[in-house]
């Protein structure tokens, strides 16, 4: 594929690995924020190549992983209703709620459909006027513009049987929460290239300055990630703490302004609970009052859904980078991708699922978990 193969070039990637190993005078602790980056790091085995120079901690940037249990249970409740067609991105389907998941709801007769875009969900609503169509609007700033567009268009087109169950979160408050934690080990961040394509990077500049932490806006291909890591390590070695942009082919400082304008017309900042982390002030997006008719939580009586996480699940500590998945007693025993206790074991972007593959291999080659 044009414009992609060059970012997977093994020779270029090897030379970046060598430069990172040569630049780091001691092992550095970096966090990649986005689950898509985690996916590449694990798929390509970058941790193995960099293990003497960089300890990569997988941040809370997997939307599947941080969607709160209550919200999953609300989704399951809605999907079970006979009058509802519930639409969702594919990887939400296996996320465990309190006692079920969307795949099981579908097997029991619930109408659950995988869509690639919320605009497809809106089309389903127009084609099924006798059903209520609900879209599970999860994700970071990346998916927010399309989700906002679906609500905007629903109102423009007068589609009244469409609504969204919103669980949007935003990146900068999460970075702040991680940096504020007393036991934080993260020295530098790779910011998520797709999020910054929408939002730009201005909002990261105060974070870099205030906490003295390098932040590098980074893409998703192996060469992107290695270059981002190299830029972050170089900043640490040179004692700089700036926002740098590795993903210049996609990201501008001010981001995509029309997309931002649409998002802020439809959504407003709200406090949001993160699964495994808890509530972070002003860290989420909720529908504005004028779009209340499209808010599934107001449209349907969801009663009082109360939940509690399985006690043995340490997803919160994993998502904050406090422990590696292997340090969780449930890892690989009580908790596997087939029977996950917490969301990070579900998505291929989740840190626990990623380690489930990678670490089994490591354990068997080195004889000890790393």
């Amino acid at each position: 594929m044009k414009y992609l193969s060059e970012y997977r070039d093994p020779v270029l990637a090897r030379s970046l690995v060598d430069r990172i190993l040569a630049t780091a005078t001691r092992p550095r602790v970096l966090m990649e924020v986005c689950g898509g980056q985690t996916h590449t790091i694990v798929r390509q085995g970058l941790q193995e190549l960099l293990k003497d120079a960089v300890d990569m901690i997988h941040g809370p940037g997997c939307p599947v992983c941080v969607t709160p249990l209550e919200q999953i249970d609300r989704a399951l409740f809605l999907a079970s209703r006979p009058d509802v067609i519930f639409t969702s991105f594919g990887d939400m389907l296996r996320v465990p709620g309190s006692d079920s998941d969307l795949l099981q709801i579908r097997a029991r007769g619930g109408e659950v459909r995988v869509v690639y875009s919320p605009l497809d969900a809106l089309e389903i609503a127009r084609a099924n006027p006798d059903h209520e169509v609900v879209f599970f609007a999860v994700g970071f700033e990346t998916t927010a513009p399309a989700n906002a567009m679906s609500v905007w268009q629903a109102r423009e087109l007068g589609v009244t049987n469409f609504s969204v169950l919103v669980s949007h979160v935003t990146v900068p408050p999460a970075i702040r929460a991680i940096l504020d934690a007393p036991d934080n080990r993260v020295e530098a961040f790779l910011a998520a290239g797709h999020v910054c394509t929408v939002m730009g990077w201005e909002e990261y500049e105060p974070l870099a300055a205030e906490y003295g932490v390098p932040i590098v806006v980074t893409g998703f291909e192996p060469v992107d990630i290695l270059e981002g890591i190299h830029m972050a390590v170089r900043q640490l070695e040179e004692g700089r703490a700036e926002v740098e942009n590795q993903y210049a082919r996609s990201v501008r400082r001010s981001g995509n302004e029309p997309a931002q304008a649409l998002v802020s017309k439809v959504f407003e900042l709200v406090d949001r609970a993160w699964r495994g982390i808890g509530e972070i002030p002003s860290s989420g997006l909720g529908l504005r009052e004028e779009f209340a008719d499209f808010d599934a939580e107001r449209k349907f009586d969801l009663g009082s859904i109360r939940t509690s996480e399985p006690a043995e699940c340490m997803a919160g500590d994993v998502l904050r980078g406090r422990i590696k998945p292997l340090q969780c007693p449930a890892f690989g025993e009580a908790c596997t991708p087939e029977k996950p206790l917490g969301a990070p074991m579900v998505s291929s972007e989740g840190a626990c699922a990623a380690y489930y593959n990678y670490a089994r291999f490591q354990t068997e080659t080195t004889g000890e978990p790393t």
Partner: protein, 351 residues
């Protein structure tokens, strides 16, 4: 009291129907007509034409291989084929993977009321063509019709019987340290063709299903390499990754793949990028994985490349004694990762 004349109309239409009616499954005249007009002309052979309650066939040798498979696919027709091709290739290929020569096929049809006859005809035609290409005859069959909404157009079950050669028994437990892992053709085409048709995705280059009969390839391997062919698998559902995991587990060996050697066509790679899927887990219907003794690799590749469906046969990895049960992929960057079985269906990622 008067009775409207329409109330007396016979529910069996007098004229030619253009689609399947419930009556076609009644066992009466419509059923007989369906058999006579649509199935027999295309499947006709001496055994089937007897129309007994069971087919009577000569016994082929001391041992036979038997395999059954049911076919449900949506859409019924897709770029590169239809459900009829799959129904023959799927079962015939399963026999071939055991080293058997496919001889006989049974075919059971569950048709949904309202299925257009021209579609049914195309499916039967595809089965007929695929069967004669594979050297099998359809010896017995069955047709049922269910109400509209109770089946997705049509479901087909086929059972195949094949003759076994006692000197050629590839099997999943026979992979050994040092053997080569070969594939007979490009990976991921069938699954991507189906997904593209289902989601109505239009790519610049259309991906066609690879559905094909593998029996001639296997016969070529048997003739040239014989027992050096340790194990054959057709990586259908679950793709190449699942097939190799099964072999690694059954044989108690490790398998190392080279990412750079995987024959993944550009359009398949592009579609998988877009859909957030991994081509190693995408279904194939016309390629096989062959585990081959090290000294027979070149001969095996040459034998496969003589056939159209094997012309891009290539080596993708090696069987190892290390880490039994694990399939490892060496990435382009020289690192390794585990290629595991999937816990369920492959689910597209959010971003």
């Amino acid at each position: 009291m008067s009775i409207a004349s329409s109330g007396l109309t016979c529910p069996v239409p007098a004229g030619e129907a253009d689609r399947v009616l419930l009556g076609h499954g009644s066992g009466g005249k419509l059923s007989a007509a369906l058999l006579r007009e649509r199935f027999l002309p295309r499947f006709g052979n001496e055994v089937l034409s007897v129309l007994g309650d069971a087919a009577v066939v000569p016994a082929p040798g001391e041992e036979i291989a038997v395999s059954t498979d049911s076919f449900v696919v949506s859409p019924l027709e897709f770029p590169g084929g239809n459900i009829g091709h799959l129904a023959v290739h799927g079962t015939v290929n399963d026999l071939a993977m055991m080293g058997a020569d496919p001889l006989y096929l049974t075919a059971g049809f569950i048709l949904e009321e309202g299925l257009p006859f021209d579609l049914l005809d195309r499916v039967i035609e595809a089965m007929s063509e695929s069967a004669s290409e594979a050297g099998v005859i359809v010896v017995t069959g069955d047709t049922k019709v269910v109400e509209r909404g109770k089946a997705d157009g049509m479901f087909i079950n086929t059972t195949g019987i094949g003759r076994l050669d006692p000197r050629f028994r590839p099997g999943p437990t026979r992979a050994r340290d040092g053997d080569a892992v070969l594939v007979s053709g490009p990976i991921g085409r069938h699954g991507v063709a189906i997904m593209a048709a289902r989601e109505d995705l239009r790519f610049e280059v259309e991906v066609e299903s690879d559905t094909a009969c593998l029996a001639p390839l296997v016969q070529g391997l048997r003739a040239t390499c014989g027992p050096a062919i340790r194990c054959l698998r057709d990586p259908t559902r679950g793709g190449v990754a699942s097939a190799l995991n099964e072999i690694a587990a059954s044989s108690g060996v490790g398998i190392r793949l080279e990412e750079g050697e995987l024959p993944i066509p550009g359009p398949v790679r592009g579609a998988c990028e877009m859909l957030g899927l991994d081509p190693l887990y995408v279904a194939n219907e016309g390629i096989m994985v062959a585990i081959v003794a090290p000294d027979a690799v070149e001969a095996a590749l040459e034998a496969m490349r003589k056939h159209t469906s094997g012309e891009s046969a290539t080596r993708i990895g090696t069987v190892t004694a290390e880490r039994p049960g694990l399939v490892l992929l060496r990435t382009g960057l020289g690192a390794s990762r585990v290629v595991d079985m999937l816990p369920g269906d492959q689910l597209p990622r959010i971003c």
